[in-house]
């Protein structure tokens, strides 16, 4: 089975058709995705801004970190699941979309980021209570850059050129020279 066949199969499912061709599902999913970005993004911003010492510096980092966690998780789940559904609607187009792949690369880098900074920052938040290390601040800046990049490239997916050939490739409807 080729990738193309798998993607085309996905596009043929009822779920995919319902989102791709339907009136409300696509914008509603998009709206929930946006609200989840506001939610998850907000908590993430708060967390990173705390690491940078700009938001709630008088509160202990670990205190805030543990309280943010459940919200981050819920937000993340909603963002990713709505994202998956949106992707399920048009996998063929996304496969050819440069912005989609850049976004996914950034997403992978987010995973790398979590792993790289686990020991020094996120694994033991109490370490930051005495004072936020410069390594932690670097982690925060990179986190903000990665997620901002994902928001930008995510926005650009819906509007990039990749699926629309400039010269449309369609078999001619008519075969007579006079056009009828």
């Amino acid at each position: 089975m080729t990738i193309q066949q798998i993607l085309e199969w996905i596009e043929s499912t009822h779920l995919s058709l319902a989102i791709r061709e339907g009136g409300l599902p696509y914008p509603v999913l998009g709206g929930v995705h946006l609200l989840a970005i506001a939610w998850f993004g907000g908590v993430l911003l708060a967390s990173d801004l705390r690491l940078l010492g700009w938001l709630m510096p008088q509160r202990r980092f670990s205190d805030l970190w543990y309280q943010f966690q459940p919200w981050k998780r819920i937000g993340f789940v909603v963002v990713v699941s709505t994202g998956l559904l949106l992707a399920w609607a048009e996998p063929v187009r996304l496969w050819g979309s440069p912005n989609f792949w850049i976004k996914m690369t950034l997403f992978a880098l987010v995973g790398v980021h979590a792993w790289v900074f686990h020991a020094s920052v996120y694994g033991q938040p109490e370490k930051m209570d005495a004072g936020v290390t410069s390594r932690a601040k670097l982690a925060a800046v990179l986190s903000l850059a990665l997620w901002s990049g994902m928001v930008l490239t995510g926005r650009l997916i819906a509007f990039d050129d990749s699926f629309e050939p400039k010269i449309p490739d369609v078999t001619p409807v008519t075969s007579h020279a006079d056009g009828h």
Partner: protein
């Protein structure tokens, strides 16, 4: 507002700037999204706290006081990026029912935020009142986001 005002916006230098290039508008729009993550995100954190959900190690009043500067920064970003984008298509946008709905929600959300909700947060209102205020706030801001999303689909 007379139609000439909207036409003037469409022909403004900033409108031309956003329309002239392929990437200016999406960058401005992305800043709009980051702005609402900051504003609506921090508002939602306090609203959920008013509902007794999460961030319980701080009182709602303390949490709101800590986050308010950031909420305002977010709102400032929105109030700059929003009109910038609106200007690019002011005539068409102002006719759009979803945009109109969004503006109504926004007006009420801002008014509510700086009046009733502020009172509820600072005065440590009883749980039922606090809960109602929180739900109202969440609904109004959700209306703003939903209205914004639906502009392109109405």
């Amino acid at each position: 507002m007379p139609i000439e005002f909207y036409r003037w916006l469409v022909n403004s230098p900033w409108s031309h700037l956003l329309n002239s290039s392929e990437w200016v508008f999406p960058v401005v729009q992305t800043l709009h999204f980051i702005g609402f993550a900051l504003s609506i995100g921090t508002i939602a954190i306090v609203d959920f706290r008013l509902l007794g959900l999460g961030m319980k190690r701080q009182s709602a009043a303390d949490l709101a006081a800590d986050l308010e500067p950031w909420t305002r920064l977010g709102i400032a970003v929105m109030l700059i990026t929003g009109p910038l984008m609106f200007s690019t298509d002011a005539v068409a946008y102002h006719y759009n029912p979803s945009f109109q709905f969004k503006m109504v929600c926004l007006a009420f959300a801002l008014l509510f935020h700086f009046t009733l909700r502020r009172w509820a947060v600072r005065s440590d209102a009883p749980p039922v009142a606090a809960g109602l205020v929180a739900v109202m706030s969440l609904l109004l801001w959700a209306g703003v986001v939903a209205g914004g999303r639906m502009i392109a689909f109405i």
